[in-house]
Symmetry: C2
Subunit: 82 residues, 2 copies
């Protein structure tokens, strides 16, 4: 397992409800790929969403986001944490 | 107080020790601006570092990072969290 930060752009105007629903859609299927989404942070003004997860690899995270209907634009393994 | 995610680029090869030292340099002076850095995550391969903080405004976060010797390239207020 490794830690990942993925980033969604062009999310201008995202609401709290939309963020909660998107996160719930990930949680509903994440176990199928061994992914655990931990947190998400959204900036509705600049339209950026950051998601932190633990997963076997980046592709597993991307597949869950894709299947949940919100593919990520970037993903970075973040082995260093403080 | 609000929550912020700031991003540092061009950090390729950053080590765990460098991340810890950079975070400690922020913590040492953050109170002067009312900032509280909570977490940081680094991808040494792509050279990206994400820092999560609580602060009165984005400028306060930027000033602490600047004075600690590692100005951020982006900062986003993230009012929505899950």
């Amino acid at each position: 397992m490794a830690k990942f930060m993925d980033v969604h752009h062009n999310m201008m105007g995202i609401t709290d409800q939309q963020l909660q629903e998107a996160h719930a859609a990930d949680l509903a299927i994440q176990a199928e790929e061994g992914v655990a989404f931990e947190h998400a942070w959204a900036d509705p003004t600049d339209g950026v969403v950051y998601c932190l997860s633990e997963a076997p690899d980046a592709e597993a995270v991307m597949r869950i986001h894709q299947r949940a209907g919100h593919p990520a634009d970037e993903i970075h393994e973040v082995p260093l944490t403080v």
